[in-house]
Every structure is written in C-alpha cells, then in structure tokens.
C-alpha cells in the first residue's frame, strides 16, 4: 500500500473511476492543463485527453448546469468548483434541477453528478476562500452532502459519490490536502454514502466532528484522556446529509454527554441538526446540554486572525470539560 495525502487519494479515485467507466468526465476551471489549483486533477488530462478532462470558461453556473445536462444524458460528470465560496453561483441549478430532476421527471431522468469543492479555513487563503457553508446544501432535499476527513475515506467516498445515481456535493477539507498521509490501497475501496463512523471509541462523552475538524477533535480526545482519564467517543460524520443519526444516537445514549464541532458559523449550522436529532432520539439519556464548538456567527477573518475563528484543541477540550463537569 502506498502512503498518500488527500490530494493524491482524490486523484487516485478520479483516475481509477475514469479508467473503469468512460462515462466519467471531469470538468471545471483549470482542471486540465493546470491539474486543478490544488492539483487534485493532476495528470488526468495527459491520461484521458481533452474530451474527458475539460478546462471550461469561467462560469460556475454553466459548469454545474451543463453537468446536469450531461448527467441526464448518461454521463457521470465530476465537476470542480474552485472554492466552496463560489458554489453559490450555481445554487439555482443545484436546488432547482440537480436535486430535483429525478423527482420532476417521476424517475425518468437521474442526475449522477458530483460537485467537488474545497472548503474550510486553515490555508492562509484570500477572502471567500475559507468558508464552510455545508449547511446550505445539507438543507436541500434530493442532494447528498459528503465531507471526508482523511485520504483513505476521501478516496473511498469519492468513488462511491461518482457511482451514486444521485447528485452529491463533495466538500474537501482543503486544510488537509497536504496535511498528512495515510495508506490508501491501489485496490478499489468504497464507503457507503449516508453512514457515519466511530473514529475513536469511548464511554465518557461523545464528540461529533467531520472534515478538517476531525483531527483537532481526536487530539482533544487524547488530551482529555491524558488530563482527566476521560474516554471520548469520536464520531466522524462523513456524510452530512442525509444525516444518518444511528451512531450518534447510540453513542449519546451510552455517554449522555455530547459536543459537536464544526468550522461553520454556529447559528443554523450543521450542529443544530445534530442537537435536534439527539433531543428527538436520546433526550432521556442526555446528562448535559449538547455543546456546540463552532465557528462564530461572523465572516471568517482574513488569515492573520483566522486561528481565532476556527475551533481548536483547547476550545474542544474546554467544552468537553464543562460537559464532564455537568451535574
């Protein structure tokens, strides 16, 4: 097995799916000759040619809208939006068509489309390049929103997303692109969409995270173990929506104390749904209010102050401590 970073793992998924299925085509701004601004599509144009790896004009609505057409006509487009901050340009296409065409045609047409976009902070980027707005997409019926947390699951989830008959928003934690490597086998791996995983087992409290927040959350769990001998269970959502709450609920019933961690602003953010699900399904097991350790309800600042905005190990540990100390 080869060690790969997130970029390489995603590249592997794209390459192998393109080899396996000539309906898969990749399109977007700078995805061809440039290999993508983060190099996720590097080498694909050399291997698959300009017909399958398409550098498009600068127009996000067209990239997504045309991809919808391709998907309806039998292809499996994987389109890249350069940053999640530019996905809004295509929101009408996604809300009104990608997520609805199956429904609008009573099952006659389907839209096996993947929209990839890097999301989140932590790379000292320009304005509009560090947002975390997955909640917007998570609320839309008919759409899947997937966020991997490391190279291996990213590769497996991207393969599943490409094969999925329904549209998937696939947000890649850009802070992790080159942050670390994992064994990612050459041999095919998939992971079912719509399933969370237990990233760390524990009995004293539950920490829920996803994407780039998983690592500080796991570190916080270790810190809690060191500092107070508390064993945190960590749930990695992987799919934000449709949210599978089975593991969450089971864990909350076991520990009674839960914190959810995300970069997105707190209000009306993904954490709210998790709190609501736990209230609906594990209320009588909760021993303390579910805590939200999140971005604040502000625009993520330019990079010199970015670290104050992003949840980090100390903030997670503080919240966990309060949870553990709750009566």
């Amino acid at each position: 097995m080869a060690k790969r970073n997130l970029v390489q793992a995603l590249n592997l998924a794209l390459r192998q799916e393109m080899e396996r299925d000539d309906r898969v085509i990749v399109l977007g701004e700078d995805v061809g000759r440039d290999g993508g601004v983060f190099r996720v599509t590097e080498g694909l144009i050399e291997r698959f040619g300009e017909e399958r790896v398409v550098d498009t004009p600068l127009a996000e609505s067209a990239i997504v809208g045309a991809s919808i057409g391709m998907a309806v006509a039998g292809l499996r487009p994987v389109c890249e939006i350069q940053f999640d901050g530019f996905t809004y340009y295509a929101m009408h296409q996604i809300e009104s068509h990608a997520a609805r065409l199956r429904w609008r045609s009573q099952g006659r047409h389907e839209v096996p489309l993947v929209v990839r976009a890097p999301y989140g902070g932590g790379v000292r980027a320009l304005e509009h390049h560090s947002e975390s707005r997955e909640a917007l997409w998570a609320h839309l019926p008919g759409l899947k929103t997937v966020i991997p947390s490391g190279p291996r699951n990213a590769r497996a989830l991207l393969v599943s997303a490409i094969r999925d008959p329904d549209p998937v928003m696939f947000f890649e934690p850009k802070a992790l692109y080159r942050a670390f490597r994992e064994e990612v086998p050459e041999a095919e791996e998939t992971l079912p969409l719509g399933r969370s995983r237990v990233a760390r087992e524990g009995t004293d409290l539950t920490l829920v995270a996803y994407g780039a927040m998983l690592r500080p959350t796991l570190e916080a769990a270790e810190e809690l173990k060191r500092s107070r001998g508390a064993e945190a269970e960590v749930i990695d959502l992987l799919t934000i929506s449709p949210l599978d709450d089975t593991l969450l609920v089971a864990s909350a019933r076991k520990t009674g104390r839960v914190a959810v961690v995300h970069e997105a602003p707190r209000s009306f953010g993904p954490g709210a749904e998790i709190v609501a699900r736990l209230v609906e399904k594990a209320f009588y097991h909760l021993e303390a209010p579910v805590a939200r350790v999140t971005g604040y309800d502000v625009i993520i600042p330019l990079f010199s102050r970015e670290r104050y905005y992003l949840p980090d190990v100390p903030r997670i540990v503080q919240a966990a401590q309060r949870l553990l100390e709750a009566p």
Binding site: A73, G74, L75, S96, P242
Partner: protein, 368 residues
C-alpha cells in the same frame, strides 16, 4: 491604421417565407411532404384548441395556473418538426404544440396542470426533459446534453426553448458561450413573444434584435418570422443540419406573440393594448398555415371541419380520462417518491411518521 473597425465574421440574417399577406417566397419554401404538412397542421390545431380548453378548465377551477401558448405554435412546432425522435428537446413552459408533437399526451398535460406530479412523467422512449420554470436555467441542460451526445459520437442534437425574457439571464449567456467554445450540437430557440409577463421586449435589452446576441459567442444567429411555420422550419432545419455536421450551435430568434395571458394568474390589460393584440391576431400562425395548405390544395373547408371535430373529441376524451386518473392518484404517500434512487433512513422515518399521523384519530380537514 490605428483606429479601425473590427470585421465581424458573420452577419445576422432575417428570414421570412410566407408573410402575413399570404405571399410566399417560392425559392425559400422548404420541401415538406404533404403527410408531414398535414400532421403539423393537425398538431397545431390540437394545441390551439387544447390551450383554449385548458383556459376554460382553469376558469372553472378544475385545473390550476398554467401558461397558455396560443399564438406561438408555429415558433415552437416549426422548430421541433425537424428533430428526430431520439434528439433531445428541452422545453421552457410555453411549447405545448411542440410537446404534443414529441409525444406528450393531453392527459399528462392535464394531470400536471391539475397539480399532480405524475403529469411530469416522461415515457421511457422519449429523451426530452420536463418543462422548466426557473427562467433560462434549462439552457444549460441542453448544452450539457449536446455535449454528452457529441462525446458519445452520435450525430444527435439538443434543441432548447426559452423566451425573450430568458435572454437577460446569466444562464443564457453562459450557455451560449459554452456552446460556442466547445462547438456543441445545440439549437437555441428563443420564442420572442414580445413580453415577459408585463415587461416588453424593448425594455428587456437594448440590442436591436435578440438574434445578434449570437455575435457575442461566435455562433450563428438568425431572426425569423416566428408566426411563419415555413420560415421557422427552414431555419431550424439549417441549424440542426449544421449541428449534426459538427458545425456548432445556432441561436434562432422567432419573432412571435403571446395572444393570451402570461399565465392564468395574469391580467394583460394592465400592460398592453387591445390594438396590439388585435394586430398580432391578424398574424395568427394557425390561420396563416391553414391558408398556405389551402393554397397548396391539401386542405379544404371540409377537411378543416373534420379536423376540428376530431380534435374536439380527442380533447374531450382526454379530459374525461384525466379526471378518472386523478381519482386513482389520490395516494398521499407519493409525497415521498422519486426524490432518491434509494430513500435515506431519515426520510423513511418521516414517511413512517406521516403514515402514523394520517391514521391517527380525527383529522377532518385532511380528508376533505
């Protein structure tokens, strides 16, 4: 030559073949065989009478809001008439005659307008997309479809419809630009019916024609008399042939008129004069086509009467069948269908919750 005019590679043409006075340009007259002419006539008539019937059903509260298409039949029917069945038609929402031509049933239209999602069902043998309401958005789908058709090395094409209002949307621009850059087999048909609800064509854009917008994308553009089925047919035929031959996209502006309301929720007297409507009524595409056929000797008064009767019966039967069908479609659980290939767990739970709530005691207002 420091200040010089830039040569544009292509001019924008205007095409009219059979004018309002019934004058025919024999050189340009497309060769259409009689059988096809009569089928076109039949569809045009059916669409017109059905449109009228829909309006009266709506006024009686038997169906909901819908956008009538009377007056625009030549523009959209003339265009789809050149397509093969396995080409793709991407409609907006005002292409009734074209949809019927492509095999959509009257019942399906009725069901849809009566608020049943089932009315959007598309038979497996047809490629077309369902109607699209968000103005301009469907243009991009046609671009993507054309792309897929080219990618698969077929010579099939996509034809997409939209109104004059849609040309102001960003998606129009992005779509035509992509079609130009990638030289895609797509035909853009703009039904310029002079109005976008209450907004007149003259205030939709300051360019003299909509056709000339093609110059911004390096694609072919042509303006045609959209109430002249022959002209539309000829222009669309040329565009489709070019597209099939790999010569790229065309924008066709069909100059036409919406004779009726925008939708049944609209009151056009607020924004346009009766004189204007009357002037356009004299250019009615149905009458004009009828006269042409009579002139060619393939349509008689008697034949017309016969067709009217046939069409009337067909509509009547469809209304009856559709109303029957609606009773069978009452199942509320359809609410949860067709959104996903596989229903997610959370939605299955909501569906269970729904069933439980439905079967709970007194819920009078629901079973009304």
């Amino acid at each position: 030559m420091p200040r010089a005019n830039i040569e544009l590679p292509e001019a924008i043409a205007y095409l009219s073949i059979l004018d309002e006075q019934g004058r025919l340009d024999r050189e340009l007259e497309p060769r259409i065989d009689e059988g096809l002419l009569l089928r076109l006539y039949r569809t045009m008539l059916l669409a017109r009478r059905f449109d009228e019937r829909l309006l009266s059903l709506q006024r009686q509260g038997r169906i909901g809001t819908f956008p009538p298409s009377s007056g625009q039949e030549a523009a959209h029917l003339g265009a789809v008439a050149v397509l093969e069945p396995d080409d793709w038609m991407v409609p907006a929402f005002r292409e009734l005659a074209a949809e019927l031509w492509r095999g959509r049933t009257l019942e399906s239209v009725l069901l849809y307008n009566a608020g049943f999602n089932e009315g959007a069902r598309i038979p497996p043998e047809r490629n077309d997309l369902p109607i699209s309401i968000p103005v301009g958005s469907q243009i991009l789908h046609a671009v993507g479809i054309a792309w897929a058709l080219r990618y698969r090395k077929t010579d099939r094409v996509a034809m997409v419809f939209f109104g004059d209002g849609a040309t102001s949307q960003g998606d129009f621009h992005e779509g035509l630009n992509f079609a130009g850059v990638f030289s895609l087999p797509v035909v853009f048909v703009c039904q310029n019916n002079q109005w976008a609800i209450s907004h007149p064509r003259s205030r939709q854009t300051r360019s003299r024609t909509l056709a000339q917008k093609a110059l911004a994308y390096g694609i072919r553009g042509i303006q045609v008399d959209g109430n002249d089925l022959l002209a539309v047919y000829a222009a669309a035929g040329e565009a489709v042939a070019r597209a099939r031959a790999g010569e790229g996209a065309t924008l066709i502006e069909c100059v036409t008129y919406r004779l009726s309301v925008h939708t049944t929720a609209d009151d056009p007297r607020r924004y346009r004069t009766d004189e204007e409507v009357e002037a356009w009524r004299r250019r009615d595409p149905l009458t004009r086509f009828q006269n042409y056929l009579a002139e060619r000797g393939i349509l008689s008064e008697e034949k017309i009467r016969g067709s009217e009767e046939e069409v009337g019966r067909e509509i009547q039967q469809a209304v009856e069948r559709a109303e029957e069908e609606m009773k069978r479609l009452a199942d509320p659980l359809a609410l949860f269908d067709h959104l996903w290939a596989e229903m997610p767990a959370s939605l299955r739970e909501q569906r269970e919750e729904f069933i439980a709530a439905m079967s709970a005691p007194p819920r009078e207002d629901r079973h009304g």
